[in-house]
Every structure is written in C-alpha cells, then in structure tokens.
C-alpha cells in the first residue's frame, strides 16, 4: 500500500479559487485547525465551506471568514459564531442551513455514490422550500441531494501512511462521512503510526478514501479545552 504522506504546503496548494471544501469537526473536536491555518495562509478565494458549524468567533473556519475567503457556507447551525451570523445578515456570505442529520446524510450519500435520498424530515418547515418532492407508495417525500466536495479537510487521532484513520471520542462526528465524499481528501494526523499500527477492526476510515496525510508537528492552543 502506497505512502500518502505529504507536506501541508503541497497538500493545501491543491485547493484553488472557487473550490468546495468540506471541513470535519463539531465545535472544537475534529476541527482540522492546522489545515485551516494553512488554507488561510495560501489564501484561495470564493470558497464554499461545508461544515456542521462555523466554529466560534476567532476559531477555525472563522479565520477563513475573517480573511474574506468564503462565499458560501453549508452548515446545520452557526449559533456559536456571532461573526458568521453578522456576515450572513449583512449579505456578505451566503448560508445554506440543513438539519444536522440531513447534512450528514447528504454528505454520506455523495460518499456512497448515490444521487440523493427521500425523507420526510423538515417537510413542513422553511427548510423544505424549493426542494423537489416525489411520491412513493402513496406518501410524499422531499428529495435531498447528495452533497459532494472537491476537498475534505480531516483531523485524525491516528493515521498510517496509507491513510487508514482513527478518530478520538466525539471528534469523529462528520469526518468519516466527509472522507468518503470529496474528490481529494487531506488529513492532518495527531499521531503517525506505521502500516499495521491500527488494527484492521479498529479502522474508522479505510485508507482507499484518503489522498494525503499530513503529520501534525504540534497541537496549537486551538485544539485545547476551552474555558467557558
């Protein structure tokens, strides 16, 4: 199995203007802060960011927002980031809200090579507006489209050089789904282990889904426990 270790500069350099980028994480756990930092440094513009949330003001994807790199957010909520809410209200970014589980499922559908799925979730809400409906066996359903991306940025607890991954605790969240749904999957790994260092039964994301593995040299403060 080939070695997918890549420098962070080289991996992130693949992301150009207008790219659609999935970013793992739910709050702090699972957010790939170091990859995001490099994305800010390399500064591609007009990005679409797909993530559960917009992190908190001054953290993670908020750096992309502050740097004016984001044109569109697809999220389940931005309630912890007043800055993102402000940008939305001022019309400076476009925000598409999805119910959280539907966001997860749309990402997974892309990863599974499906075009979409039928659900009754949110049918009688504002979020159903403009979505196609179909009837199946006498019931009406919304059609939710698969949501794919050019890139996924993923934080792993451990990775081997082939890209087999594990996630820690609640840092798993959207990452295994996004790692299936993007054309190019870039992983930052807290711990690099040798091939065979992850037991076959313990792998959370199998290597064939992963394109680039970047070893984290250190964890910045952003990864730490937040005092509230």
């Amino acid at each position: 199995m080939i070695n997918k270790r890549t420098s962070i500069e080289e991996a992130i350099a693949k992301i150009g203007d207008g790219a659609v980028v999935m970013v793992g994480g739910f709050g702090v756990p699972g957010t790939p802060f170091t990859l995001i930092e490099e994305l800010v440094r390399q500064n591609p513009r007009r990005l679409t960011i797909i993530k559960n949330d917009a992190n908190e003001a001054g953290m993670g994807v908020d750096h992309l927002l502050r740097n004016g790199q984001v044109e569109r957010l697809v999220v389940s909520h931005i309630g912890l980031n007043p800055h993102a809410i402000q940008l939305k209200n001022e019309g400076r970014i476009e925000v598409e809200f999805c119910p959280q589980g539907i966001l997860a499922e749309r990402i997974r559908a892309a990863g599974a090579g499906l075009a979409g799925f039928l659900t009754d979730i949110a049918m009688e809400t504002l979020l159903a507006e403009g979505k196609p409906r179909v009837e199946l066996d006498g019931e009406e359903y919304l059609v939710e489209r698969a949501l794919e991306a050019d890139f996924a940025l993923i934080h792993a607890h451990a990775a081997d050089p082939f890209g087999n991954l594990t996630y820690a605790a609640s840092a798993r969240n959207f990452s295994p789904l996004m790692a299936m749904a993007a054309d190019t999957v870039i992983v930052e790994a807290e711990n690099m282990v040798a091939l065979g260092g992850i037991a076959p039964e313990a792998v959370h994301t199998p290597g064939p889904f992963v394109d680039h593995v970047v070893e984290l040299q250190e964890l910045s403060e952003a990864y730490g426990v937040v005092r509230r």
């Binding site: 739910f26 931005i78 939305k88 119910p99 589980g101 949110a122 969240n173």
Partner: protein, 218 residues
C-alpha cells in the same frame, strides 16, 4: 441557579425518564434534567454529535478536549459508552431508537406543533439537530418557561413562528403546569404548587381541557 419554580419543573420532568430508555436532552432546561435523575437509573444518554451512554459533565480541569456533548459541554464516559459518526447518530434518531427527546421551545401549539429554532429577522442561528429530535423521537416533551420575556404565553393556539416540526410534542413541562397534547387538544394535568387553575388558564394562550378531580400539583 434555578428559581424554585424552574427547579420544580426540571425535577418533575426528570420523572419522564425511565429505566431502559435512550434519551436526548436538548440545550437549556432539558440539559439540567440529568441532575435530577434517580441515582443508578439505567438509562442511556444520547448526544447527537455521536455519543450513546454519555456520562456526567466535567469541570475544565478534568475535561477531555475531544469529548463534548452537542451543547459544547465537556462530558465523560461511563462503562458502556459508545462513539459513532453523525450519520449513525441521526440514524438512531430517525430510525426510531430514541425513546425520549426533551427540547426547549419558543412556542408550542395546541396540536403539538413546535417552534424553537428561528425568529425571522432576529434569531437565525440555524436548526442544528432540532428538527430530527422533534420530528422523530418516540416521545417528545418540551421544557420551557410558560411565558416569554415579554410576558407572552409560549403555549399558543397556533404557532406564529416558523415550525420546527408539526404535531410532534407529547407533553409540555413549564414553571406553571404540566400539559399533555392529545387528539382532542391540550389537557392540563398538573399545576405548580401555589398557583390556581385560573392563573394557569390566564397565562395560557391555548384552550386547556381540565378535569379538576384529576388535577395534581407538582
């Protein structure tokens, strides 16, 4: 600190949780329910960011940076905790394995309609997992203050705020009352100690069915 009335509401709502249930506690009052459960009650707490069997919240000093609940609180594991991804987490909810969902509310209508995620033009944070938790849990109960900050009833004949999910609420716990949503309308089951039925009726913008003989106090 909870007021006495709020504390009674949360304590009363905690009796919803029974042995063997898988339960999701929403942000706000529902989160507090965990502190009022009978010690040792064998329940499974679900957090939609990917945890079943979630353990108690932890202070800063003991926190694991990778382990939060869906509200962002640092939590712990128990023997029997499992972690999974967000798709599995909501499969559990939509697939019918969540026995009880406790949610906050902006408005609850007489038919069980719930509005709790958006005030157009004012409060637009997005819905998170709220729609699925409201629409698909086997039982949905709401914990909220009976009146909003401007003194308007949150219990209404019809929601004027955009819905989270239609006809989803089974029961409402407030600081003033316990109200069931039934096929024939809202039924007042219990009132807070020290209140009269008339005071509850006056504070409620939905019709209430009342059988004074059955009415309990909490």
């Amino acid at each position: 600190m909870l007021s006495g009335a709020d504390e009674r509401m949360v304590r009363r709502a905690a009796r919803e949780v029974r042995a063997g249930m898988t339960v999701n506690l929403g942000i706000g009052y529902p989160t507090l329910v965990v502190d009022y459960l009978e010690p040792g009650l064998p329940v499974c707490m679900h957090s939609e960011n990917g945890i079943s069997g979630q353990g108690p919240a932890l202070p800063f000093e003991q926190a694991d940076r990778n382990l939060i609940d869906a509200g962002g609180a640092y939590v712990s594991t128990l023997p029997g905790t499992a972690f999974f991804d967000s798709a599995v987490s909501f499969a559990l909810v939509r697939g019918g394995r969540l026995d009880l969902s406790m949610l906050g509310a902006l408005q609850v209508a007489a038919n069980g309609d719930l509005a709790n995620w958006i005030i157009p033009g004012k409060y637009t944070p997005g819905v998170g997992g709220g729609i699925e938790l409201a629409q698909k849990a086997c039982r949905v109960v709401v914990l909220c203050t009976h009146l909003d900050k401007r003194g308007q009833s949150k219990i209404v004949a019809q929601c004027d705020l955009p819905l989270t999910a239609p006809a989803c609420v089974d029961r409402v716990y407030t600081d003033m009352a316990v109200i069931d949503v039934t096929d024939t309308g809202m039924v007042l089951r219990e009132i807070a100690a020290g209140l009269s039925v008339d005071e509850v009726i006056a504070a409620t913008a939905a019709p209430l069915l009342i059988d004074e003989n059955e009415l309990a106090t909490f």
